[in-house]
Amino acid sequence: MLQQIIQILPQVLVDGLTLGFIYAVVAIGYTLVYGILELINFAHGDVFMTGSFIGAGVLFFLMSIGFLSSVPSLIVFIIVILIAALATGFLGVGIERVAYRPLRRRNAPKLIALITSIGISFILEDVVRFIAELKTGNYIITAPSLFKTQYHLNIHSIMPFFHNVTFQASFLVVLVVTVVMLISLDIFVNRTKWGMAMRAVAQDRETASLMSINVNRVISVTFFIGSALGGATGVLFMIQYGTIDPYIGFILGIKAFTAAVLGGIGNIRGAMLGGILLGLMEMFAAANLSTITHGAMGAEYKDVFAFIILILVLIFKPEGLFGKAVVEKV
């Protein structure tokens, strides 16, 4: 039993990391918004989905004008991801303007924003579906693969207790791009003036506004960054898995939100690590649960496994793995 778990461990790590990095970047979108507004932005998963569709649209357009054959795929990829990120960034700002800001101005209860976010997510799903269906006749879209070179890592010959690992070039792309995004975001938040303003607003909105920080603009910037990251991740998702539909944002959104909480919501580094951890856990559970339980519980319990770990973590460390315990004042 143990032997089998160890044998497939390298492959599980590779797959788990791919999924984990995607969770991580989407989780950041949740955490950024939550940190500033204390709002669970349910529409974020659908912003991610919209990003992947915009990416697919741009890719199809570039293909139709014959751009794809004449230019290396890496450049095509960079163009696609930039356009998608910009578009979803502005989409995020727009959502904030239409659905959240009026509520803030009217001093509405915190939870009412939940309704608008659910409404927005329904609208996004259906609008994307209608556009995709009008254009292609089907809304499950399969994008042309840009990086499909297969790599075989022959670990077996070096360490005989492991099986070999196979992965696609897109895995490396996902890895590199997400790491670049995560690091630059970290620098942005911790080293720049805007980042400082964001942290100030997150800490205390009123005091920040007294320090001549334009709170509304900071919130807009936050939404822009969170959504742009989400949209870019949508493109990565499309590159990695090839197939997208308007409903991918739902499950992935729940998972990413879970990851954000696991790491300590509001904490950016926590969200990154929470995402990676969740991806690895899920993959490990899917691959090994039935081996461990001798068939009593199979891969279908992987989410149960992930949620139980989450609940246990929260019971013993209620502020999340990397969150700081806040002393509540009366």
Partner: protein, 396 residues
């Protein structure tokens, strides 16, 4: 009381009411024509993740109704379609079923996609004597309850699953089989029937795993399959997940045959899996539609009307509606050209024993199952839809 506060509330409600009153007057306008209106309802998921198939079913039925429109007009009836969206939700399905029952011009239902919705909704149809012809519910419980109004043209799980298992074990000589299913009523039922029959035939089931519908990454389960070294993978489920499983299995170097059920019978399987689809088998009840002249015409009409290529499910939808209309026509004739009762329609549909559809022949047995349901096994030799037929199995 504070009247001012009520104003926005009032205005919203008045708005809604205004819209609905529009509905009422609209339907009244439709009914005031000289011809008697007969409606055929379809109930399939038209929104939500399963809408592709639901839409294909609806469009197939719509085409059948359009084709028959002239014949019914001759007898003085105006045939119309009333599409309902069940959102793959049992509650919504039952509520819609009640609405359908309350519209006395509806004489039959084509639906559903999900057995979980079909079972509770059919209880309502049965109470109101509305006949239902199901294009896609394969679960055994749908007809095993012995309702007089429930019929289906597709094969039961306990016919299709074993047929696939026989082919896998006897023809493909699979000794070690890894079974994956999508944890829905459809996938589960099919995979269970397959597994039981394969085990009976002496194959070893090296794994029986579930996945989550809607996800895109199945590498965890596939890693496990790789470790078990099977010589066949069986997938019970629909193409959206199945296509990705094929693709991801090939990426991890599993070049063994993979097999699935009629949920995989779609051009989307090829689109999603790409080149990896080679060496994939699936069982289905639909023969190659485009081979016959009638089927070819159907495919062309479909393309012309909706701008899409046909799916196997559109053919199911077309056949279900055609059978229903045939029964309706028989009932009208029997009633001397006058509008028959719902009960008479239900009896006439059940009485059909030999109807030539484009996808399958239809004849209902005493439970409402299709006597002629055949299973065909197809194989993809290249990445193009439709696949090549490799075997044909008739009901024992």
């Amino acid at each position: 009381m504070n009247i001012k506060r009520l104003i926005p509330l009032f205005s919203i409600i008045v708005l809604i009411l205004g819209v609905i009153s529009g509905c009422a007057s609209g339907s009244a306008g439709g009914g005031s024509k000289a011809k008697t209106v007969i409606k055929i309802a379809t109930q399939t998921p038209l929104s939500g993740p399963e809408a592709t198939i639901g839409d294909a079913l609806k469009l197939g039925a719509e085409l059948a109704i359009d084709d028959q429109k002239a014949a019914f007009a001759k007898k003085g009836f105006d045939l119309q379609i009333a599409p309902y969206d069940d959102q793959a939700d049992p509650k919504k399905g039952v509520a819609n079923a009640q609405l359908i029952a309350s519209d006395s011009s509806i004489l039959g239902v084509v639906g559903h996609l999900n057995s979980g919705v079909a079972i509770p909704s059919s209880e309502v149809y049965d109470k109101n004597n509305i006949v239902m012809v199901s294009p896609a519910n394969t679960a055994t419980a749908v007809t095993d309850r012995g309702l007089k109004t429930v019929n289906r043209i597709c094969a039961r799980d306990d016919f299709q699953g074993p047929a696939g298992a026989n082919y896998a074990v006897n023809t493909l000589k699979a000794k070690k089989i890894f079974v994956i299913q999508d944890k829905t009523a459809y996938g589960s039922g099919l995979a269970q029937a397959f597994r039981d029959q394969a085990a009976k035939l002496g194959a070893q089931i090296v794994g029986y795993e579930g996945i989550t519908v809607g996800e895109k990454d199945f590498s965890g389960v596939i890693s496990q399959a790789v470790a078990q070294k099977p010589d066949l993978i069986y997938f019970g489920g629909v193409y959206a997940e199945g296509g990705l499983i094929i693709k991801q299995a090939r990426q991890q170097g599993l070049n063994i045959p993979i097999m699935g059920g009629d949920g995989m019978d779609s051009s989307a399987t090829v689109q999603i899996a790409g080149d990896s689809v080679k060496n994939f088998y699936f069982s289905t009840v639909v023969g190659d539609v485009t081979k016959t002249a009638k089927g070819k015409k159907f495919a062309d009409d479909y393309k012309a009307k909706f701008g899409k290529n046909i799916e196997s499910y559109s053919a199911y939808g077309y056949d279900s509606a055609s059978v229903l209309l045939q029964g309706l026509m028989n009932a009208i004739d029997k009633n001397g050209g006058k509008l028959p009762t719902r009960q008479a329609v239900a009896q006439a549909v059940r009485a059909i024993t030999n109807f030539d559809g484009i996808a399958t022949k239809v004849g209902f047995d005493s439970k409402g199952d299709n006597n002629f349901a055949k299973i065909y096994i197809y194989k993809f030799n290249k990445a193009a839809y439709p696949a090549t037929q490799v075997s044909e199995i008739t009901k024992k």
